[in-house]
């Protein structure tokens, strides 16, 4: 099992969710986050006081998938979240030791 963590542009969130749904992924966790990467921040000006906003808002999507579906899930997220412009975000894939469905006690692939 793998945990896919994708940080994407907030307005691409719905596209990513739809793409994952089409693959049959039955659940994701979404968090509103801020961060910086190659995309530069912007400046805000309030009555002449200039503030540089370094951290830009992004959406973080966490989704757990079986090993064999990892590649197509990553490809689907990548395609759905892409605008081709700087700041599209990143996808991290990490190994997942165990998954437990709390209600039934199922574990592993069964729990996904």
């Amino acid at each position: 099992m793998k945990l896919i963590t994708a940080v994407v542009k907030p307005f691409k969130l719905d596209d990513v969710r739809e793409a994952l749904s089409e693959l049959g992924v039955s659940g994701v966790t979404v968090t509103e986050v801020k961060g910086f990467g190659r995309q530069k921040g912007h400046t805000e000006l309030y009555r002449g006081a200039e503030y540089v906003v370094d951290f830009l808002p992004k959406a973080k999507i966490e989704v757990a998938v079986t090993d064999e579906r990892t590649d197509i899930a990553v490809a689907a997220i990548s395609k759905a979240a892409s605008t081709g412009k700087i700041g599209d975000g990143k996808i991290f894939v990490t190994a997942l030791e165990q998954v437990i469905r709390i209600r039934t006690g199922e574990t592993g692939d069964e729990a996904l």
Binding site: L45, Y46, R47, A49
Partner: protein, 498 residues
């Protein structure tokens, strides 16, 4: 806490004694005159040839309040309350960081309440009864002697409004003024320090300035040149100098702006000034607040006419146009010089225009108001962006940059836009019952008197008041408290649970 309360009580007592000492208790006789803010009167000192006193002889009717004027004054008073709470509170609140939102709302809310009570106890009496040229007397402490039948003069002979509504109307002015000051040292001041400062400053800066600018015997006293001279001698110091201040440019805005400047210099900069982001937490709130200020300002300016008549309508138009023109002035200046027209700029521009037209609104014409508004928008934009950063003081919400600078500009600009040659109304002569001859230079000198006296008086009183408060309870919160935010540390609550 106990010691805090006793400090307050002690101080309130001291302030009474202070005023009493400053005031020779000569004004024993209560004249039934009614205090009034107004257009100072130019009295023609040439022979009273034109004066037809006989025409003045009023028929033997018991004077009573005009119902239409009374209704308008009740509405106007409510509008000014709306300016303060929630208008000013939200305007300022939106500009601080979220962790200090409630502290600003609380300061404005409690200053309003505190000042309202002080106004009834001694404020009204000291500002609006006859005394010296600088302070009134104590005849109306606790509003003594005022009944539903008591009348206050307006600007027309033989036209009155109930004194109670006049008291309430003027109360709202005295309440917004100290509330304006908190913008200068927001996000770092002790709540108790704000309250103690308010008591002192209200007593020794607001009340004398209100008396100096607005106290006069009322138009009925100006029957002929001799009577006018006699009545004029009882008026406030700046009234006698001929300084025009229709709705409080000097008394409210310059007064508060200078107190703010002195305050932010004495209390020091916020931690992180020019290093960390001190950006407004909600320009939306600020826009809502500025809009409420704009609406409420019709009560402030138009209500200052005390009558619902044609001049009130002119004041209304002037107020509207100046605010609109100043919004355009600020926004376009910002757009040209800084690249983007901002909502905060629009809101600030409107307020700057309202400040500038305040002293002038009863004498300007519509075109003059547009001109004054445009200039105010641009000048105040310059003052909060260039001037402030050059001088390096941290006037958090630009109490001085907008109210001080805008107030001075408006006070001096009044001399220009009041000129009949530029579409203004000129100044009414209550002796000849006509518009007096107008000298722009002469009026500019009178206006300068008002500006200079207000700057010096407010500057000195503010300095001493801050010094005293600093010694007694300290002006500023400790560093950890400032970092944590004043809401949690001073008020035990949080503005937003999101």
């Amino acid at each position: 806490m106990k010691s805090l309360i006793s400090t307050f009580m002690l101080f309130s007592l001291l302030s009474f004694v202070g005023v009493a000492a400053a005031e020779p208790a000569s004004s024993a006789v209560e004249i039934k005159t009614l205090a009034n803010p107004s257009a100072p009167v130019t009295v023609s000192m040439e022979a009273s040839a034109v004066v037809a006193t006989s025409a003045e002889a009023a028929p033997a009717v018991v004077p009573s309040a005009n119902k239409g004027d009374t209704a308008w004054m009740i509405v106007a008073t409510i509008l000014v309350i709306l300016m303060v709470i929630p208008g000013l509170a939200l305007f300022y609140g939106g500009m601080v960081r979220a962790k200090n939102m409630l502290s600003v709302l609380m300061q404005v809310f409690v200053i309003f309440s505190l000042t309202a009570v002080l106004w009834a106890i001694f404020g009204y009496s000291v500002a609006f009864t006859e005394g010296s040229a600088f302070f009134g007397g104590f005849d109306k402490l606790f509003l003594k002697g005022i009944t539903p039948e008591s009348l206050a003069a307006t600007f027309s002979k033989g036209v009155y409004v109930p004194e109670y509504i006049y008291v309430a109307f003027q109360l709202t002015f005295s309440a917004i003024t100290p509330a304006l000051i908190v913008g200068a040292f927001a996000e770092r001041v002790k709540f108790s320090a704000v309250l103690l400062f308010t008591v002192i400053w209200f007593t020794f800066s607001y009340l004398p300035l209100a008396h100096m600018v607005w106290y006069w015997a009322g138009p009925d006293a100006y029957t002929d040149a001799a009577a006018a001279e006699k009545a004029g001698a009882t008026a406030g110091f700046l009234f006698q100098k001929g300084a025009l201040d229709f709705a409080g440019g000097t008394v409210v805005h310059i007064n508060a702006g200078i107190a703010g400047l002195v305050g932010c210099l004495m209390i020091g900069k916020r931690i992180g000034f020019k290093k960390e982001s001190l950006a407004p937490h909600s320009v939306t709130m600020t826009m809502v607040g500025a809009s409420l200020l704009w609406v409420g300002w019709f009560g402030f300016n138009v209500g200052s006419n005390l009558e619902a008549n044609g001049l009130a309508a002119l004041v209304f138009v002037n107020t509207l146009l100046a605010a609109a023109a100043a919004t355009l002035g600020w926004v376009f200046a910002e757009w040209l010089l800084r690249g983007k027209p901002s909502m905060l700029g629009g809101a600030s521009g409107a307020v700057a225009g309202l400040v500038a037209i305040t002293p002038a609104c009863g004498w300007a014409g519509p075109a003059g108001s547009i001109l004054l508004g445009l200039v105010a928008g641009v000048v105040c934009f310059w003052s909060v962006t260039s001037l402030k950063s050059k001088l390096g003081y941290d006037d958090s919400l630009d109490a001085f940059g907008v109210h001080g600078i805008g107030g001075i500009l408006g006070a001096l600009g009044t001399a220009v836009v009041a000129s009949p040659a530029l579409g203004g109304t000129g100044v009414w002569d209550y002796v000849s019952n006509s518009v007096a001859e107008y000298s722009m230079i002469g009026q500019l000198i009178s206006q300068s008197w008002g500006v200079i006296v207000a700057i010096i008086w407010s500057g000195i009183v503010s300095y001493l008041a801050y010094k005293f408060v600093d010694i007694v309870i300290g002006l500023r919160v400790p560093e950890e408290v400032e970092r944590e935010g004043l809401d949690v540390s001073s008020h035990g609550e949080t503005a937003y649970h999101l």
